[in-house]
């Protein structure tokens, strides 16, 4: 586990602040060098996050390229979030938690049927939030085919040496945050995870807060 790295940015100087309720999505554009902070307001809440190159939707966050390039499966301060074309979409510049997941993907109604019970097929999920965001912002040109494998900020998915994958209680807590600086103009899509069937939200989905700082503040 990496040591926590705190940010010096002041919330009072943020150009934007918004609370995202659990089960809702948030989509916004960041200019190059702007800084985005995601706050786990009440603790143990998964922020399922996707990034796109604003100039080319096909060039999107790639979990496998990010893992391969940094030779590590966990994300924390210093992690470069790479696109499918190898561009740095963003870099994590502060992180009070120390470890975030990018192996577990987003929950979907369909994977819920496999993981929990066939009758869970009508429960709300991150992928439904992504699909609604794409449909309600169709001018951006994002559709189902563009939904790659996301980051789960604040989620803890330890890998064991013998090749197991476990879903552990979150390492995060109330007020913990992660902060990233945009490496280029990017679109950020967050689903505040509505999952009720596993400990990724401590069985109690709670709000997230997002803040954005202009690059000239730094």
């Amino acid at each position: 586990m990496k040591s926590p790295v705190r940010s010096e940015l002041l919330p009072a100087e943020a150009r934007y602040r918004e609370v995202i309720g659990a089960g809702s999505y948030w989509i916004n554009t960041l200019a190059k060098d702007e800084v985005l902070r995601i706050v786990d307001v009440e603790g143990n809440q998964s922020a399922d996050t996707l990034f796109f190159n604003a100039a080319d939707i096909s060039d999107r966050y790639s979990a496998v390229d990010t893992i391969r390039a940094q030779r590590n499966v966990y994300l924390t301060t210093g992690s470069s979030l790479l696109s499918t074309s190898g561009n740095v979409l963003a870099e994590i510049v502060a992180d009070t938690v120390g470890r975030h997941d990018t192996l577990g993907g987003a929950c979907a109604a369909e994977s819920n049927t496999v993981r929990y019970a066939l009758e869970k097929r009508t429960m709300h999920s991150c992928r439904d939030s992504y699909l609604l965001a794409a449909a309600q912002h169709d001018h951006l040109g994002i559709g189902k085919r563009d939904l790659g494998h996301n980051i789960n900020f604040f989620m803890n998915v330890p890998v064991t040496r013998d090749g197991g994958l476990t879903f552990a209680d979150g390492l995060s807590g109330p007020g913990q945050y992660v902060e990233m600086r945009a490496g280029m103009d990017i679109i950020v899509l967050i689903s505040n995870c509505p999952q009720l069937n596993n400990p990724c939200n401590a069985y109690n989905p709670t709000p997230l807060e997002v803040l954005i700082w202009n690059f000239d503040v730094r």
Partner: protein, 241 residues
């Protein structure tokens, strides 16, 4: 082709694609050891349904792929089951090589100069095969790297393990629904061999035995019983069965 099986060998650094019908199986054999087979899977009826590595891993609480595991689509269905495996660990989190990586590691060998011995890369291989079905960059996903292993330390550091697969090792995939298969035999993106690794793989296509109630993959985890149920419902509704 004798109507029941077909066998062919793909040299290292090449690519191919085909559709597997539900109820057929594909055996991949590492001819000389050290092979890597990059693979992506799609529903030929609707390629928006594709292999989903995160769902595959989290549904089965695994980081590696081996016998007993099922390869899931993003729609909660099973493209194929790993019915036999003499290797023990196959990677699906490291992605695939691209031209820049290959050039950096082994130097660029152009087609102009080297003809069939050029150094093809995994990304271009997937793009070419995918384009034959109208698929493009937007349709890429985390792929499987059969025969390759990247181990994980406690701090999350991953390292490629040379020698994970030896000559003659094989893995068998039984297809549970119609599946478009894109594959290449280009190097694993973390392979550090001194020379561009160019290892052949034999593909054997045949008909699978019906899935019995005591099937190993069906029973390896309770999640897989539900995955099979979803797939069976799909086949029933689409008259595929």
């Amino acid at each position: 082709m004798d109507h029941n099986s077909y066998e062919t060998t793909i040299e290292g650094g090449k690519h191919w694609s085909f559709t597997m019908r539900a109820g057929t199986q594909l055996r991949l054999t590492d001819v000389e050891g050290g092979a890597n087979v990059g693979m992506l899977l799609y529903n030929p009826q609707n390629p928006l349904e594709r292999y989903n590595a995160p769902d595959t891993l989290k549904c089965q609480h695994t980081f590696k792929l081996t016998r007993g595991h099922c390869l899931y689509s993003d729609m909660g269905r099973i493209f194929c089951s790993v019915t036999e495996d003499t290797v023990g660990w196959h990677d699906t989190v490291c992605g695939t090589s691209n031209g820049q990586m290959i050039a950096q590691q082994w130097g660029e060998r152009t087609y102009q100069q080297y003809r069939n011995d050029w150094t093809q890369n995994g990304l271009d291989a997937f793009l070419v095969e995918g384009a034959k079905y109208g698929l493009g960059r937007r349709d890429l996903a985390a792929n499987v790297n059969w025969f390759s292993k990247a181990g994980v330390a406690d701090d999350g550091a991953i390292s490629f393990e040379p020698g994970n697969s030896a000559a003659g090792k094989w893995v068998e995939l039984r297809f549970e629904m119609d599946t478009l298969v894109l594959l290449h035999t280009c190097p694993h993106p973390l392979d550090t061999s001194r020379h561009y690794p160019r290892h052949a793989v034999t593909l054997k296509f045949s008909r699978a035995q019906p899935v019995g109630a005591d099937d190993f993959c069906l029973n390896s985890r309770p999640e897989n019983a539900r995955g099979f149920a979803n797939t069976e419902l799909y086949r029933f509704c689409s008259h595929e069965s």
